[in-house]
Symmetry: C2
Subunit: 347 residues, 2 copies
C-alpha cells in the first residue's frame, strides 16, 4: 500500500528573527507502507510530536547547536524536521519491531516517519499513562527538568530556587520537583493566568509576571529577600543578569535554554562577573543527553509522584499536521502553557 | 619605645576609574612598640607586602566584594589598608608569639602593623627560601593558581589550557603548573617582553600580546585550532567572550579575576549562552579562601618543584613605603611582571 505522506518543512533558513507562518510549507511525497526485502527500516505513523524552542537554532544558517549533538544538527530547507515523539509501527524490516508496536524517539513533523537503523527510537511501556506523557513528563522535558535540577543544581532542602519560563515544558516540572524535594520556589511567567497556575495548582511558593516588572533586579530582591541559591535558567538575557545579582554565596545557575537569544542573538546576558567571583557562583550549561545516568531514578521518582497525584501534568496539545507552524511559533510568543506538542492521530 | 608609624591610605572612594597617585596619601601616627599589660596584640614590623588588583574593589563605595569575605571588605578613606604579607614581631602580648618571630598574614600598607587576636596571621618556616616567596608563590597567589587550576578546572593530561594575564602573579603559576601537569598551555600578556618570558623561561607552549590582536576570537582560533578545554580567566570582558566561543565541549572556565571590570564596570563580558548550553560549559567563580582543603598538597608540590628547579619564580618588588601607590597603580597599567610586592625592610 502506498500513501501520500504530508510533512512540514522550512522554506529557507530562519535567521535572527521570530519565526512566522510563511517560513514553513507543507510538502508531500509518496510513501510505500511496506519495507523492501533486506531493509531494516521501520515505518511508523506519528501520533504525538514534541514542539521545542531549541529547534529554532537548527533552522538557522549557523548556530552553536549544529555541531553539538546529533539531535541539534542543522535542518536544511526542504528537509524533514526530526523531533521527539510517539508513533506506532506500520511496517518493519527490523526483527525487534513489529506492526502496532508503540515506539518513542526521533520521528518527524509529518504523518509518517521512516526510522533508519541506528537512529534514536525504542519500544516503551506506557505504564498505564496517556501516550502524550512519553513526549513530555516521561520524555526529554521531564529528564531535562529532573536531571538539570538534581544533577546540575545539586539542591539542598530548604534552598531558594528561582525558575524562569516556569509555566513552560521544563520549568513547570523543575518547580514541582523542587517543591516536592523541599525547596522554596518562585517562578516567573508571561501572563496573569500562568502565574495563577503556578501558585494555585503547581504549588510554587510564589510567582510573578515578568512583563509587568520594569526592573527585574528589584523584583527578584523583593521575591528573594534572603537571596537565590539556585537559578534554573530557560531564558538568558536580563533575567540571568538579575538572578546573578541576587544570588547567594555558592549559588548555582543551570543554563537549560536561552530563548531570548534564539530569537535575537544580540540579546546576550552580561552578568556581573565580580558577583560570579566573590559569590563563587557556578554557571553551567547542560543537555538532557548527558543525564542518562539518572534516567532510571528520573522514571521511578516521576512515576511514583504521578501515581500519588503529587506531580501535575500540564500539556498543551495542538491537533493535526497543519498546526505545526503555529504550535512552534507560539512558543516564542508565550502562547503555550506546559508541554507543547502536536497530536497527529489517535492510537 | 615609641615610633612614628607611616602608612598609606586612600583620600576618598575610588569609583569607576583607574587609580592614580593623587588618590592616595601618606599618613603618620605615633606607635608604642610595646604591648600594654593584659593586651594580646602582636606588633610587627612589615617586611614584604603583597600588591593585588582586587584591593581596588575594596576601595570603592560599593562592590560585590565587600560582603563576600573579610579580606575583601570595604576600606574607608583614612583607614589602614590591610594586605597579605610577611613581617617580624617587635612586641607581643600573645604567648604564642615572641620578639623576632617571622609571621605571615594580613598586615598593612605601612611600616608597622598591630595584629589583633583573631585576625589572620601565623608563624611560618621559610623552608630555606627567600621571605618574599611567602607573599607570592608560597602564599595566596600560589594557592589561588594551584587550587584554581586543579580543583576548579579539574584538568586532564593533554588538555588545552588558555591563561589570560599570564605574566601576572597568578597567571604565570597557572601556566607553569599546567605545563608540569602535562597540558598544552597558551598565555596572553600585554607586551613583547612578557610574551618572550612566557615562552622562553616559563615553558608556555605559546603566547601572544593581546594588545596587538584586534580580533580576539580569531586569535584564539589560531592558537587553539582544536579548541580550548580550560580557560583560567583573570581579566573578563572580550577575552572571556572570545574564550567561550573557542571552547570545546565540556570546557571549564575558572573565573579568578575580572580586572577589566575593576577599572570599568561597564566592561562586562556577554558570553554566548548558546555556546554555554550546547558545549555544556561550566563558568565558575572562586576565591583562594575556599581552597584550604588543598593547602598541604599545594605546599608540598610547590616546594618539590622549586627544589628541582622546575618552577620559576617571577617577582616584581618595589622598595619603600612611598612606592605603594605606584606599585598598585601599575597593576592596572600592565607595569608588573610576576608577583608584585613592596619591600619595606630587610629581615
Amino acid at each position: 500500500m502506498e500513501v501520500t505522506n504530508r510533512y512540514i518543512t522550512i522554506k529557507s533558513p530562519l535567521d535572527d528573527e521570530e519565526p512566522k507562518e510563511s517560513d514553513f510549507e507543507l510538502k508531500t511525497s509518496p510513501l510505500a507502507l511496506s519495507v523492501s526485502p533486506g531493509s531494516s527500516d521501520v515505518i511508523v505513523k506519528n501520533l504525538y510530536v514534541s514542539i521545542d524552542p531549541y529547534q529554532l537554532n537548527r533552522m538557522k544558517s549557523f548556530s552553536s547547536s549544529h555541531k553539538a549533538i546529533s539531535y541539534a544538527a542543522a535542518i536544511a530547507p526542504g528537509d524533514e524536521i526530526d523531533a521527539y515523539g510517539v508513533a506506532k509501527v506500520v511496517a518493519s524490516g527490523n526483527p525487534e519491531f513489529e506492526k502496532d508496536d508503540l515506539v518513542v524517539g526521533l520521528i518527524s513533523w509529518g504523518e509518517y516517519t521512516v526510522l533508519k537503523e541506528g537512529t534514536m527510537f525504542r519500544k516503551f511501556d506506557p505504564l498505564g499513562f496517556p501516550l502524550s506523557y512519553q513526549v513530555g513528563i516521561l520524555g526529554f522535558s521531564g529528564l531535562t527538568a529532573y536531571g538539570g535540577f538534581f544533577e546540575v543544581c545539586k539542591p539542598k532542602k530548604g534552598e531558594r530556587v528561582f525558575v524562569s519560563a516556569a509555566s513552560g515544558s521544563v520549568g513547570n516540572l523543575v518547580g514541582q520537583y523542587a517543591k516536592l524535594f523541599g525547596c522554596y520556589v518562585v517562578g516567573c511567567a508571561g501572563s496573569k493566568e500562568k502565574v495563577a497556575l503556578l501558585k494555585a495548582k503547581l504549588g510554587f511558593d510564589d510567582a510573578f509576571n515578568y512583563k509587568e516588572e520594569p526592573d527585574l533586579k528589584s523584583t527578584l530582591k523583593k521575591y528573594f529577600p534572603d537571596g537565590i541559591d539556585i537559578y534554573f535558567d530557560n531564558v538568558g538575557s536580563e533575567m540571568l543578569e538579575a538572578a546573578v545579582e541576587n544570588m547567594n554565596t555558592f549559588g548555582r545557575v543551570a543554563v537549560c535554554g536561552v530563548i531570548s537569544e534564539y530569537i535575537d542573538a544580540r540579546k546576550r546576558a552580561a552578568p556581573n562577573m565580580l558577583d560570579v567571583v566573590y559569590k563563587r557562583i557556578k554557571i553551567q550549561g547542560f543537555l538532557a543527553a548527558d543525564l542518562m545516568n539518572v534516567y532510571s531514578d528520573f522514571i521511578s521518582t516521576t512515576v511514583d509522584h504521578l501515581r500519588t497525584g503529587n506531580l501535575h501534568v500540564v500539556e498543551d496539545i495542538s491537533s493535526g499536521l497543519e498546526s505545526f507552524p503555529s504550535a512552534f511559533i507560539g512558543l516564542f510568543r508565550g502562547h503555550n502553557t506546559g508541554k507543547k506538542m502536536v497530536k497527529l492521530a489517535d492510537e
